[in-house]
């Protein structure tokens, strides 16, 4: 737990960086993220923090070293740091997963209207950005809901829209299809109703 700068010789370019602070930044990002965090995003977290001050880049090797230390810091906890296909994520160790699933066995059962609407927009209009969902639903997207959808692995990020801010594009996954008993997206119930027609006309008018 104590700051412990034992190997300054290893990363001479970043000896101005307080290691304990660096680990806290990684923690903030990894814990706040709704999805696994790619190394690129982790390095972005340091950009404002250090580069402008010290005029040097944080290397990926440096970040990986910190991640290892973070992992070591978690050794005595119920959590672990893992690397997935899309990035790093902190999760509850398998050993303690049982306690969690036993406490909330009803977890997947109740789907709130807000969650269903968010999911249906992603399903029917994919790929969509968060802003697309907000636009269509008329309310701010609740991070908690996206987190839940990510956690169930019903949705995933699939690239980004090449506009300012590079917002992530959201799509549904095969787990989503499984959960809703669908073989493919083509099996989604059709929306050939009056409200679809009205909606299309509205879109046209607004353009």
């Amino acid at each position: 737990m104590q700051p412990n700068v034992q190997h300054p010789e290893e990363y001479p370019t970043s000896n101005l960086i307080d290691k304990a602070h660096a680990l806290r930044i990684l923690e903030a990002v990894l814990y706040a993220s709704e999805t696994p965090v790619p190394t690129l995003v982790l390095s972005q977290a340091f950009e404002d923090e250090y580069d402008t001050q010290h005029d040097h880049k944080i290397t990926n090797a440096q970040i990986e070293s910190w991640l290892n230390q973070l992992s070591a810091k978690l050794a005595d906890s119920a959590l672990e740091l893992i690397k997935t296909a899309t990035g790093y994520r902190i999760q509850v160790r398998p050993k303690y997963a049982r306690i969690v699933t036993r406490l909330w066995p009803e977890r997947p059962v109740r789907l709130s209207q807000a969650l269903l609407e968010t999911l249906s927009v992603i399903a029917y209009r994919q790929p969509v950005t968060r802003a697309d969902i907000e636009q269509l639903r008329g309310v701010t997207v609740n991070s908690q809901i996206l987190r839940t959808l990510f956690e169930r692995q019903w949705i995933a990020e699939d690239g980004f829209r090449p506009v300012a801010g590079r917002p992530a594009l959201l799509v549904t996954t095969k787990y989503f299809l499984d959960a809703f008993g669908l073989q493919s997206l083509e099996q989604l119930p059709e929306l050939t109703e009056m409200n679809q027609i009205i909606h299309d006309l509205n879109d046209k008018n607004i353009e």
């Binding site: 994520r89 999760q91 509850v92 209207q113 269903l116 119930p189 509205n202 008018n205």
Partner: protein, 279 residues
Amino acid sequence: MTESEVEQHTVNLARVNDEWFSELPDDLYIPPEAFAIMLERFEGPLDFLLYLVKKNGLDLVKLDIAPIASQYLAYIKLMHQLDIELAGDYLVMAALLADLKSRLLLPAPKSLTVEDDPRQSLLARLEEYARIKQGAALLNDQLVEGRDVFAVTVGVSNILPDNAEPEITRFNADILQLAMRAILSRPPVVEHRIIAEEVPLEERIIAVRQALQSGKSIRFDHLLVRAQGRMGIVVTFMAILELLRQQEIEIVDDGLKENQNKEDQSPSLLTVRGLNLAA
């Protein structure tokens, strides 16, 4: 606009409207276009009034409402002259203040008690609004989850320790369709200023009559012209009602089938057919 021009402008205005502009506050030297921007900063007439109160450094409790009312009315009048669009709330307040001012100019009746003082209710409102505004500032100072702090939710390892068959809850995909329909059937949230193109009923009647001339059935949505938007839907429906009344067409499907027969899930829409007029 240079400062001297503004000054000139203001002086001229003062000569024209002595009632309003003899009491012009100093900061009317703001360029006129800045008024609109300034207004946007306020949350409404009470906010604006409160600003005037504060700017004058007045003790709200002992406040003589008259100068504030005059200032407010002066602003409103000026903005009106500058063609700056004002929300109705501001005009309602202006009417209230004008009424208040005129009543205050009348000699006070002997029986006027503090409770009857027309200033009191406005002051009470201002005070209450100031509290609400303070409450808003205090709430804004709180550490808000999702803005200042972020609740941590970590996933749970997917590897089940005992390799037990995970209990998969299956959902009916229809709930997605219902959710999407709920979204689509809501009125659009953003208020768009759409200059409604008139859709003449006569044109629609002719169009529907022509489309059904051959005696064939056509679904309602196929009678619509996309460019006519919502108004087109309404007027087309009116055209159908008119043609029904004149017995030129008949209904093949009233579009209510889905409700009558739950087995049949196929979408059902109003469908009409032209009648042979020659007969």
